[in-house]
């Protein structure tokens, strides 16, 4: 088992980050995520949003590894998440479903409002890899954690990309609204 952890600060409010997080896919930096569905979603008695999603990826492993463990084209993962709007914490836990009898990759992401700056968001990530029954245990684990580091960087870039897109949409909407109002309201000189 190997544990990998990472921390990152986004220069955006928690609300912006969490809204963008739901719209994270598709994005050009994570092309391997090919499918995403909400299996279940509900609000619990404490007002927290609980969601269960199914993700399918075609994330690339080297050919020899795929052959060795007879990997399928689509790898499925299950993600459970909780949004606590009062505490401003969004927790996601995901685990692979495919090949779970051979290896398990557990990942947890926690987005929380920065403790000292309410305009920033803290992201803490943690992953554990459990491999068993294969002759190349630790080498495979190392490949996984290297890939995770790579993906974490891409994931953060993807978030910035989506946040940017969401903010741009809001600005465009605001500009259109102003244009519309300008056309409708009488101009001072015509009064």
């Amino acid at each position: 088992m190997r544990i990998w952890t990472s921390e990152h600060t986004f220069d955006h409010s928690w609300e912006t980050v969490v809204t963008a997080a739901w719209r994270k896919y598709p994005n050009p930096l994570n092309p391997s995520v090919v499918g995403l569905d909400v299996i279940d979603r509900s609000i619990d008695a404490e007002g927290k949003l609980n969601s269960h999603r199914l993700m399918s990826t075609s994330w690339g492993m080297p050919g020899w590894v795929a052959k060795l463990i007879g990997m399928q084209e689509s790898v499925f993962a299950s993600e459970h998440s909780v949004v606590d709007p009062k505490k401003k914490v969004f927790t996601l836990n995901s685990r692979n479903l495919t090949l779970s009898n051979v290896l398990t990759v557990n990942e947890q992401l926690v987005y929380s409002q920065h403790p000292t700056d309410p305009n920033k968001t803290l992201l803490k990530q943690e992953a554990t890899v459990t491999v068993s029954g294969l002759p190349l245990c630790s080498r495979l684990e190392k490949m996984m954690t290297d890939a995770m580091n790579n993906n974490a960087n891409k994931g953060r870039q993807a978030m910035e990309f989506v946040i940017d897109k969401v903010k741009k949409e809001a600005r465009e909407l605001s500009t259109e609204a102003h244009k519309c109002m300008d056309n409708v309201l009488p101009k001072p000189s015509s009064l």
Partner: protein
């Protein structure tokens, strides 16, 4: 973004659009009334059927094997 079932694509798109709007404009502002529920129920039904059709047994897959007595070991 694609759905696991091609037939659920449009339902997914409509539900996601409803959810994203509700989440940002209502849920985060403290309103828990979810108007997307009816849309979700139809979409959810479609997805569960697609999963069954693809023989993905989600419950079986979610069973923990590694670290439990069910874990298989290489022959000694």
């Amino acid at each position: 973004m694609n759905s696991v079932g091609e037939e659920c694509q449009e339902l997914k798109r409509r539900y996601d659009e409803c959810f994203n709007k509700w989440f940002a404009e209502k849920f985060l502002k403290g309103q828990t009334d979810d108007p997307c529920q009816p849309l979700f129920r139809v979409y959810q039904k479609c997805v569960k059927n697609a999963i069954k059709a693809k023989n993905l047994d989600l419950e079986q897959m979610e069973v923990q094997v590694l670290g439990t007595p069910n874990e298989k070991h290489p022959p000694s």
